[in-house]
Symmetry: C2
Subunit: 123 residues, 2 copies
DNA sequence: CTAACATATGAATATATGTTCATATGTTGT
DNA sequence: ACAACATATGAACATATATTCATATGTTAG
């Protein structure tokens, strides 16, 4: 409702884009929830993970995930709408790739937490 | 299903915890989706945002969010189960705080993406 | 232009999830 | 022990969401 002004008490006094203590209004928090919601589905996070290695067409994504073409296409639509992936047409095929490095940063930050909590063993 | 071994092609050859290209098995991806799912709710992200300023008791959280006590408590349970917040009892009250800095990193990474996409104006 | 292929989309269904209400648990002061 | 308060929890309900099926759109080769 209200927009409380909070100065960063932890890392700095200025408000730069990476500062997690930056003043954030309610609408931004809703946007943020929407963004994380997109990451919060196993099919979509698996798509993102697959695209870490580089672009891939829908058919190969579908194959790699063992999911239906329609399901993958629906999820790609959501990823696209969130600005997380970008399509590129080449003939009949659509190649998808991660939109920018923010996607990798969010993914990496989440992964670091999982690892820290010990639920992950690297081989 | 299968566990494909991918070496990082972008930033390094070693596999350290922050590398977004680290080899990640299917189970970890499911854990990751579960983690982001926790961030992907407006009530929970508002709780996290509130706790950025420091610990807070349930009643004050409930007050600040304009949400019911029960709703907040239910969401705190989920945040606790995910290892994102930590409770501390002081008399009748329960004070919650962010569990560790990973929470801030994930939050900050998401916020950076929102800002980059232009959906956020800092005052 | 037509057939074959790749992807996208709409509708329907089944499942997951958040909130509310009622109540239980736990703590303090008397 | 009891009353008052703070928080937690279970059940019920309403809503959101992911998948599937059928079909539409778009592209290429012949």
């Amino acid at each position: 409702m209200e927009n409380v002004k909070n100065e960063c008490k932890n890392c700095c006094t200025c408000v730069h884009e990476n500062c997690p203590h930056a003043n954030v209004d309610e609408n931004t928090l809703y946007d943020l929830a929407e963004l994380f919601k997109v990451f919060g589905d196993s099919t979509r996070i698996r798509i993102i993970s697959a695209l870490m290695d580089g672009e891939m067409c829908v058919y190969h994504l579908s194959e790699r995930l063992g999911a239906g073409q329609s399901a993958v296409s629906h999820q790609l639509r959501i990823l696209r709408a969130a600005g997380l992936v970008r399509p590129r047409r080449e003939g009949k095929e659509m190649y998808y790739s991660l939109d920018d490095d923010h996607v990798k940063e969010i993914y990496g930050a989440g992964l670091a937490h999982i690892i820290h909590k010990g639920g992950y063993v690297n081989e």
